[in-house]
């Protein structure tokens, strides 16, 4: 897993599920951000990297916040660092879709509106997966979860447009199916003055119902079928970073996942 990484920041053997998409995301994000980074992680799947008891998977300073205030903690850390003239340290909030698009929306909106320099990464596995797959605002239409046993009757919240409405300098969608694209976007988020937001599509074999070895393939199919768009928005200008080829149909993407059956 840690092959080709510049920075060895995250321990191996973290107890994420086999084939975990978020596992790839956090390693790659931190590979770009490097050692001079402070991370805030809410309770959720990524908290497996916060660790347990006196063990942590992180070799960088980190703080596990509450579910709904990742952005506020991160911005506070940024201000504390600024007060000490420590301006070259990255502060990243790394939260799941539930902690971002649902309960964490207010705190994130506040930080974005105030223009505070925080890198906010949402890893989107499209439900509350750490508690065993309950629907979030980011769960797509027709997906079954344990709290939508029939299927979800309303579409996925468009979090990226909500973020874009705050007119921050850098917004991007990304996927663990396209690592180079992801890492390039993290680099841009790191370099920008002001807040940045990256929303990473991270398929979840446990919750979505597919074989663990298919994670990256499913992630790519989401993009190729147009079910997950890859783009970036720099100072309001939206540019696609991956053309949809339609080589995969939405049906092909969905049929491999038990949540859509």
């Amino acid at each position: 897993m840690n092959n080709n990484l510049k920075h060895n920041i995250v321990a191996q053997g973290v107890s994420t599920c086999a084939g975990c998409g978020l596992d790839i995301a956090i390693r790659r994000v931190l590979n770009v951000l490097g050692e001079e980074t402070i991370i805030v992680i809410p309770p959720g799947c990524a908290a497996l990297f916060s660790g347990y008891g006196n063990c942590t998977a992180m070799k960088i300073p980190g703080f596990q916040g509450n579910l709904e205030n990742t952005a506020a903690y991160a911005a506070g850390i940024r201000s504390g660092l600024e007060a000490q003239g420590k301006n070259n340290i990255n502060v990243v909030g790394f939260a799941g879709d539930g902690a971002t698009v649902d309960i964490g929306l207010q705190s994130l909106s506040g930080v974005l509106e105030r223009g505070e320099k925080v890198i906010y990464v949402c890893y989107d596995n499209e439900a509350y997966m750490n508690t065993g797959n309950q629907r979030s605002g980011s769960t797509p239409l027709n997906a079954t979860t344990k709290t939508t046993p029939g299927s979800k009757l309303v579409p996925k919240k468009n979090m990226l447009e909500i973020v874009m409405a705050h007119h921050i300098p850098y917004v991007a969608s990304a996927s663990i199916g396209y690592i180079k694209d992801l890492e390039r976007k993290v680099q841009k988020a790191k370099d920008v003055q002001g807040p940045s937001y990256i929303h990473i599509h991270t398929p979840c074999p446990t919750g979505w119902g597919f074989e663990p070895h298919l994670t990256v393939e499913i992630a790519r199919k989401a993009v190729l079928s147009g079910m997950w768009e890859l783009f970036e928005v720099i100072d309001g200008n939206k540019v696609s970073t991956m053309q949809v080829t339609n080589s995969v149909t939405p049906e092909e993407y969905m049929c491999e996942q038990r949540r859509f059956k």
């Binding site: 402070i38 960088i60 980190g62 916040g65 506020a72 903690y73 506070g76 504390g80 000490q84």
Partner: protein, 410 residues
């Protein structure tokens, strides 16, 4: 040095301004504040001070109290002094995060302008907001007036940040009675405050890329109890450190403080135990009654957390009848929260300990009410564990709506 005169500026400040002044003098460098009545003038004053560069710091207009306290925890964990202030439902909104501050041992000093909790809506003073947080792991101190607000905040930094304590502290002041009444306040020179409150230094947890550590991850039952116990020990340690800080404060600024303040208790036949702004009125009534040779006294509780058990037992050792005034209802409980604490401390068959609930939602605790309480205490004329002393006679009819008849009883 011994008899050096303390240089203070006499200023006319209300409680909110005194709090802002104290935070400024403590050189708080990150302030994240959300305005709420009756704390709003404090929020505005800090913003003005930053704008005028009277404070070398950053002021952030956060979008909620929940984010305010989260922000401040994040900032202070990097190794700077950070601050916020709130009231009422704002404090209630912070509830979840208050436990993060105390559990992570972040010694934040936070003015709380006491105001009733909803429902029904009230803008005015009682103590239910702070009382709802009495077990949140924060030290709690109640100021009687604007001078005490200033002094207790300055001492608050020293107490909270002491390495044997490392607990956050709420400096409570009664909404409007203290927060909005202009009073004469002695404000020390900045240079004296700098001597009293050293530059902030993180003494345990810190977010620093040079010393990476992960803070507040999941903790097993194997360690959780011990970590809670450490917090409890910190409160015991605070009982040792508070008098030391108060002694040093007296030497530096000339004003004397205790965990409690007792007045005319030695030979008293009845004593009222109370907190906050009502203490001044109670003291005044004691003076008046003493003139008539009625032997009464008063104990003002300054520190509610940690609870000053020893001092209270000592102050009331010879007193047979004790009335405790709670400015919160203690719904469903035998007495209000202060009443419970006092009874636990002093309760035995030799003493009569009577609880009174008064002054809710901004109702004045008048001289007449206090005289009535003393009168009841001296005659032992009461019949409830919890005596609602300032109720109107038609209490059960107010706002009562008869569904069937579709009309109000009012």
């Amino acid at each position: 040095m011994m008899n050096q005169r303390v240089n203070s500026n006499v200023m006319v400040l209300d409680g909110n301004e005194a709090a802002a002044m104290a935070m400024k003098m403590a050189r708080v460098s990150v302030m994240a504040v959300y305005p709420i009545t009756p704390q709003t003038p404090l929020a505005e004053r800090l913003a003005q001070m930053v704008e005028k560069k009277e404070i070398e710091g950053k002021y952030i207009c956060v979008e909620s109290e929940h984010s305010a306290i989260s922000y401040v925890i994040g900032a202070q964990l990097t190794g700077v002094r950070a601050g916020t202030a709130t009231a009422s439902v704002g404090l209630a909104l912070m509830h979840e995060v208050l436990g993060v501050a105390s559990g992570c041992r972040v010694p934040i000093v936070m003015p709380v302008v006491n105001r009733a909790l909803v429902a029904p809506w009230s803008l005015w003073c009682d103590h239910q907001d702070a009382m709802a947080e009495r077990d949140s792991g924060w030290l709690q101190v109640y100021a009687e007036n604007a001078q005490e607000v200033l002094d207790l905040i300055l001492m608050g930094y020293r107490i909270a940040e002491h390495e044997n304590v490392l607990l956050p502290i709420m400096i409570c002041m009664d909404g409007f009675y203290v927060s909005h009444s202009l009073q004469k306040v002695l404000v020390p020179e900045q240079v004296q405050v700098d001597k009293f409150i050293p530059k902030y230094e993180a003494k345990n947890l810190i977010l620093d890329v040079k010393k990476p550590m992960f803070i507040n991850n999941l903790t097993s039952p194997d360690e959780f109890c011990e970590m809670r116990y450490q917090q409890d020990v910190a409160f015991k340690n605070a009982l040792v450190e508070i008098p030391r800080v108060q002694k040093e404060f007296k030497e530096a600024f000339g004003r004397e403080y205790g965990l409690i303040n007792s007045y005319e208790c030695e030979d008293a036949e009845a004593v009222i135990v109370c907190m906050g702004s009502m203490s001044g009125t109670v003291k005044y009534v004691v003076k008046q009654l003493r003139k008539k040779n009625i032997k009464v006294g008063v104990v003002k509780i300054t520190f509610f957390r940690p609870f000053p058990k020893k001092d209270l037992i000592e102050a009331l050792s010879g007193v047979k009848t004790i009335g405790v005034i709670d400015r919160s209802a203690g719904l469903g409980s035998q007495t209000g929260p202060l009443g419970l604490e006092v009874a636990r401390c002093l309760g035995n068959k030799d003493k009569n300990i009577i609880n009174f609930v008064a002054g809710l939602g901004g109702r004045d605790i008048t001289e007449e009410i206090i005289e009535k309480i003393y009168d009841n205490l001296l005659k032992l004329d009461f019949n409830e564990d919890k005596n609602w002393i300032d109720l109107k006679e038609d209490a059960l009819h107010i706002r009562r709506y008869e569904m069937e008849r579709g009309q109000s009883n009012e």
